[in-house]
């Protein structure tokens, strides 16, 4: 079988399993988020935590719960790293330094999983399992909880109660993430990923060198890393490491995992608002952008190489794993940057300028196609709101989305949302480029060096966590700056989302008529896609021109 056929088959297989998952998983998530019944173990947890599982929270309370929970998580994770040498299962690792601990704690709590450390040589098993793996679950659940609150804003009328964060969090972890992670961990193990509690093995290679091989609970971490769009690898090489991602099959499984929840959430949205076509429209926009991105990266990696090695290999194979190939790497790269996963199975820095540029652009779009768990859908819904606002005016009515009017208050929160991430990315990259010392951390010079800096801040502010690599970001300045970018990029938008949810929920919905802008037709799908590309994309055009475009256009 040649590469092209294999590549197409991989894509088709991936799409087929995603399509099969859409309805059952989407509806199941809607059920989780709306069911009035609690499981016994949940009731026990609520009692233990002093939570009234049947009481809905007003949006400020919901927000406070999100922030309090996340703040506690950051502190806990920070402490765990700083004290790891005094705790069991450290595997002989020393305490992590303050800046890296801060960066890592923030990174995992914000679902970014930016890693300014090398996993196998910095974090012991306890930190990996009790700290990082736990955050892989709950940070993903927080995103879904927040989008659930926003959807409730659309579905509810005349109330500012948007759900109960603790109930949402508990149910998403217990009923969705744990069972799925368990099943897929077994699949990964069966396909060759490792799962053990071994420490470091030292072996002699055939050429006589010594090599250290670290074992550990890899498969379980790997599953939730992808499923929760986290991306923080057990190993520094992330999904390029054969213990994490042994072969082409696991590669597709991992891509499926990192897409599946976000791709099915539009169904959850459609089911909850009582109009499944709305879900299909959102899904269509996500699919369009995803397909375009996969196509651009694949074509560039296959055809626009300019090195002798590239010619010899028939594609840009530098920085890619032979066992995964160009197709599998391009598919992974597009999917990981269009979700907030940030796991990598190849070295994005080594991609062709336009291929690598597309991975940056993917993140700049706000990771909405399909995006991080929950965050992808709420990001897309904000852009849908902006689209409805402009398009709604063009049909001669005060714009309304799903019956809720988009007035000054709603537009304020939506505008602030779209303002936040570009501000963090551009200001962060601007400061870094203005400081000669920080600039010096770039591996490359010229436009490519700038792309590395731009990528770092784009990845952090959008909570992606993937690295262009190349740039060294272990200094205190980079750890702190990127940590702050992740914090602001995660929680400020959540503030606006929940405020918006409260504001929408208070409204009495307007019934749809022939004069209402239909938001389920191809027309709207096209318009929303254009808004995503033009409104969001234009913001970054000057910066992109100086990085990937400057490098890629000859």
């Amino acid at each position: 079988m040649n590469d092209t056929l294999a590549g197409w088959l991989q894509i088709l297989a991936l799409l087929a399993v995603l399509a099969l998952s859409y309805r059952p998983l989407g509806d199941y998530m809607a059920h989780i988020l709306t069911s009035p019944r609690h499981w016994k173990v949940e009731k026990f947890l609520y009692r233990a935590g002093g939570v009234d599982g049947d009481a809905d929270q007003r949006w400020p309370v919901y927000l406070r719960s999100v922030l309090a929970f996340s703040a506690m998580s950051v502190l806990f994770l920070y402490g765990l790293q700083r004290l790891q040498n005094h705790l069991p299962l450290a595997e002989g690792m020393a305490a992590v330094n303050p800046a890296t601990s801060f960066n890592t704690a923030v990174s995992f709590v914000t679902n970014t999983n930016w890693q300014s450390y090398s996993g196998e040589s910095t974090m012991g098993h306890l930190v990996q399992m009790a700290g990082l793996a736990v955050q892989n679950f709950v940070s993903a659940a927080v995103g879904i909880a927040v989008v659930a609150a926003l959807i409730r804003g659309f579905t509810r009328r005349r109330t500012d109660r948007v759900g109960n964060f603790w109930v949402d969090l508990t149910r998403i972890v217990l009923r969705l993430l744990l069972p799925m992670a368990f099943v897929f961990a077994i699949i990964l193990v069966a396909c060759g990923a490792i799962q053990n509690f071994h420490g470091v093995h030292s072996i002699s290679t055939i050429v006589g060198d010594h090599q250290s091989i670290t074992g550990g609970p890899v498969a379980s971490q790997e599953t939730i890393k992808e499923l929760g769009t986290n991306g923080g690898g057990f190993y520094n090489a992330n999904s390029a490491h054969p213990f994490e991602n042994p072969n082409a099959f696991t590669n597709i499984v991992e891509i499926y995992l990192l897409l599946v929840i976000s791709a099915c959430l539009p169904r959850t949205f459609g089911t909850m608002v009582g109009d499944k076509r709305q879900g299909y429209a959102i899904l269509a926009v996500m699919a369009l952008i995803w397909a375009a991105s996969v196509a651009i990266i694949t074509v560039n990696e296959l055809h626009s190489y300019h090195s002798a090695a590239g010619h010899a290999a028939g594609g840009m194979l530098e920085g890619k794993e032979q066992r995964i190939g160009v197709w599998g790497s391009a598919l992974f790269a597009a999917s990981t940057t269009l979700t907030s996963t940030g796991a990598v199975n190849s070295f994005h820095d080594s991609f062709t300028p336009l291929g690598g540029g597309t991975t940056i652009f993917n993140m700049m779009l706000g990771e909405i196609a399909p995006g991080g768990t929950g965050s992808g859908l709420y990001g897309m819904l904000i852009l849908a709101i902006i689209t409805v606002f402009v398009a709604g005016l063009m049909v001669g009515r005060t714009p309304e989305y799903l019956g809720k009017k988009l007035g000054g208050r709603e537009m304020k929160f939506a505008s602030l949302y779209i303002l936040t991430t570009p501000a963090v990315v551009l200001v962060g990259a601007g400061i870094a480029m203005a400081l000669p010392g920080e600039r010096a951390n770039m591996l490359n010079t010229g436009a490519h060096g700038f792309s590395e800096v731009l990528y770092a801040f784009t990845s952090a502010a959008n909570n992606n966590g993937s690295a262009f690599a190349g740039i060294t970001v272990t200094s205190n300045w980079w750890n702190t700056a990127l940590g702050l970018a992740m914090l602001i990029g995660r929680f400020l938008p959540m503030v606006f989302i929940l405020a918006l949810a409260g504001s929408l929920g208070k409204q009495q919905p307007v019934p749809a008529t022939a004069g209402t802008l239909p938001t389920h037709r191809p027309q709207f799908v096209g318009l929303l896609t254009a808004v995503v590309i033009i409104v969001v994309g234009l913001t970054y055009f000057p910066a992109l021109a100086l990085g990937p475009l400057a490098e890629g256009l000859h």
Partner: protein
């Protein structure tokens, strides 16, 4: 007063319903001279304290200052050209607002001229029917509520009021701009007259209903001058979006400098400001306030005064239109269509009796009976004074009858015409027994959608009374031409029409079916109307209605858009948020269209403005950086002459497009009632795609010219 021999249904020229094929709501054209006249105003608006209210243009103004300072410090042709065009951009934006306001000011000026010091002929102790009341002169400004004045042909009506006696043709062009005279007469729904208008023929007595200084013209002047213009909710929401886009682009431009320095292509202040101004949504930012003012203005041109911009916007959002049957859906009023005699009565006898009993009925229905008898049975309408010894009984809402008591040769003959139940009751009271056949006759007419009026007679001869029913008059509603198409159109726009009528459900249904409305409310009391509005609003719908009576006032106040008729009572005018000077209820449909057009214009120009950015990027980015990264030359797809000419062209285009779009902003974009999908498709093609493509051509054309400016390159 005298009965009026109107041959045609009483429809005044100003109230002619719009022909249905006239879809386009358009405003007046822009006179190029207006631009010149408004220029001083536009320059006055450069005051930063004024500019700051428009965040987008304020940023441009600050940029202009920075560029000018930079041009003074490091003079170059390029810097000065950019500085000048940036200032022009701001001035053009102010110009659009000044022109929009200027049109209102001109209108106010015309109105003021009508407020001349009219001398009123006040009648002292005027009573209905009194002969030769005492007359005195009084300045118009001294007229009080309840004063009676007489106005004759050629004189100006001194104040707002109701005609209580007489009929006259009135030239209302001072207010409505409509040169054809309108009929104003006592009784009925065309009794209101407005101060400042001129009586062309006949003589009327007017009861003054407004206080000095609070006349309609005073209020109209205040409104068209836009003294108290406030941003509407939708305008605020759009401003928020535009401001945040401006902030994003400011960040993009400010942070570009460190990137550029790293790339070895440090940019000057002039270039950075030019990039910023090109990117922020200046087109819509510049025209936004003009669009709002012009929207109000378009209503004024249609003789509708909106008390707030909010009401105009709400009109675009309306889901349900409550339309009064009478005057809106049907022509004026019900008209007599046939006489149906009872028993042995001949049709001529019935026609004669019907006419006699209707002579004192000032309602249009009453008059139509007189007209029908005259037209079909050659019975001349007799004036009240003509019949000696005749005692007329005018129609009242309580008795629901009108009639006449005649003394003929010592016999007392009483004729009554009115609602079936009222007349039957009257017959019974006078010892009569309505025959069995009357009941089915009445029901048959009602069942067919007509209104039966019964004519009865009581003859008292030598102490004995004989009471008989002579027959039934069939009053029919005449549905206005083109209404069905209008309602179909509204349905396509997603607006539900509900006909409101006092008729019984059977009659109502017949007319509703004929006119093609979606629903009807029969036997409607003001309470029913109110309940209907509340019910719709609870379902999240916006309701518009028209009304003129005092009992409409609560419903007008409750409705999201309440249009009071100018002829209506002052209570109704106070309660509504719009007043229609023409008192044409059909205009509600046009008001909705204008509201929609206002929002569409905003949306279309926003889309256009954002889509423009793509071309500007392709002009400016290669100009800035192709020097260090030659690959970026590929982005110069327009093949612009040089970096400086490219940037200059983009900025000139950006400024000129504002001027080019002022007429569109004032006129509003083309609007044809259709479904949301169809509207959106059209506007995306025109303003979205147009906004994407047009600047490529425009910038290229400008570049072909500016490249010859000496010293620019």
């Amino acid at each position: 007063m005298s009965s009026v021999t109107t041959l045609e249904p009483p429809v005044s020229p100003g109230a002619t319903p719009e022909p249905p094929e006239r879809h386009r709501v358009s405003g007046g054209m822009l006179d190029p001279k207006q631009l010149l006249v408004s220029l001083p105003d536009a320059c006055r608006k450069l005051d930063p304290r004024t500019m700051v209210r428009n965040p987008v243009m304020f940023v441009v103004e600050v940029g202009s200052v920075l560029t000018t300072l930079s041009a003074i410090k490091d003079p170059s042709v390029f810097a000065w050209v950019i500085a000048v065009w940036l200032w022009l951009t701001v001035i053009f934006a102010n110009l659009s607002e000044a022109v929009a306001e200027g049109r209102g000011k001109a209108q106010a000026e015309t109105l003021r001229r009508t407020k001349t010091d009219t001398v009123a002929r006040r009648l002292v102790d005027w009573r209905h029917g009194a002969a030769n009341p005492r007359e005195e002169s009084a300045p118009a400004a001294e007229l009080r509520l309840g004063d009676h004045v007489v106005v004759e042909a050629g004189q100006i009506i001194p104040g707002d009021g109701d005609v209580v006696e007489g009929v006259a043709s009135v030239d209302e062009s001072a207010i409505t701009g409509e040169s054809a005279p309108v009929i104003r007469e006592s009784g009925g729904d065309r009794s209101a007259v407005t101060g400042g208008t001129t009586v062309l023929s006949d003589r009327i007595v007017v009861k003054i209903t407004s206080k000095p200084g609070e006349t309609f013209i005073d209020r109209m002047i205040a409104l068209v001058e836009g003294a108290a213009r406030q941003k509407t909710p939708n305008e605020i929401a759009l401003n928020i979006l535009l401001a945040s886009m401006t902030i994003i682009f400011m960040l993009a431009v400010v942070t570009l400098q460190p990137f550029a320095i790293y790339a070895g292509a440090e940019q000057t202040i002039v270039v950075l400001v030019a990039l910023l101004v090109a990117l922020i949504p200046t087109t819509i930012g510049a025209l936004l306030s003009a669009i709002g003012i012009a929207g109000m203005d378009r209503l004024v041109q249609r003789n509708v005064l909106a008390m707030s911009g909010r009401a105009v916007e709400a009109a675009g959002d309306v889901n349900t239109l409550l339309l009064d049957k009478t005057g809106t859906i049907t022509l004026g009023n019900r008209q007599a269509a046939e006489f149906v005699p009872a028993g042995k009565v001949t049709i001529e006898e019935l026609a004669d009796a019907a006419q006699l009993s209707s002579l004192a009925d000032e309602t249009p229905e009453g008059r139509s009976i007189v007209v029908l008898a005259k037209e079909r049975y050659a019975l001349r309408g007799r004036a009240e004074g003509e019949l000696r010894g005749a005692q007329f009984v005018p129609f009242t809402a309580q008795t629901r009858m009108s009639g006449v008591d005649l003394v003929e040769d010592g016999d007392q003959r009483s004729l009554r015409k009115g609602a079936a139940t009222a007349v039957m009751q009257w017959i019974r009271e006078n010892g009569g027994h309505p025959t069995e056949e009357i009941g089915p006759m009445v029901d048959a007419i009602a069942g067919a959608g007509g209104t039966p009026l019964v004519v009865g007679e009581v003859v008292e001869r030598e102490g004995t009374k004989v009471a008989t029913v002579l027959g039934v008059i069939n009053l029919k509603d005449v549905v206005k031409a083109g209404m069905r198409e209008r309602f179909d159109e509204l349905r396509r726009m997603g607006i539900r029409t509900v006909m409101i009528t006092g008729d019984n459900p059977m009659t109502a249904k017949a007319i509703a079916d004929e006119a093609g409305v979606d629903d009807f409310l029969a036997e409607a009391t003001p309470e029913d109307k109110m309940a209907l509005i509340r019910r719709e609003q609870e379902g999240g719908k916006l309701v518009a209605m028209t009304g003129d009576g005092t009992n409409d006032a609560p419903a007008l106040a409750q409705a999201d858009v309440g249009v009071a008729m100018n002829t209506g009572t002052s209570a109704a005018k106070e309660a509504g948020n719009m007043v229609d000077l023409d008192s044409n209820p059909t205009k509600l449909i046009e008001i909705v269209e204008i509201g929609k057009q206002l929002l569409i214009t905003r949306g279309a120009l926003t889309t256009f403005s954002i889509a423009n950015d793509v071309a500007k990027y392709f002009a400016i980015i290669p100009a800035m950086f192709a020097g260090v990264y030659p690959g970026l030359h590929h982005l110069n797809i327009m093949g612009l002459h040089s970096p400086t000419s490219a940037i200059t062209s983009a900025i000139i285009f950006n400024a000129l497009i504002i001027v080019a779009l002022i007429p569109l902003a004032l006129r509003g974009v083309r609007y044809k009632p259709s479904s949301a999908s169809a509207l959106l498709s059209r506007n995306i093609w025109v303003y979205g795609l147009g906004g994407l493509v047009l600047p490529f051509a425009g910038i290229k054309l400008i570049d072909l010219v500016v490249q010859f400016i000496p010293g620019l390159n």
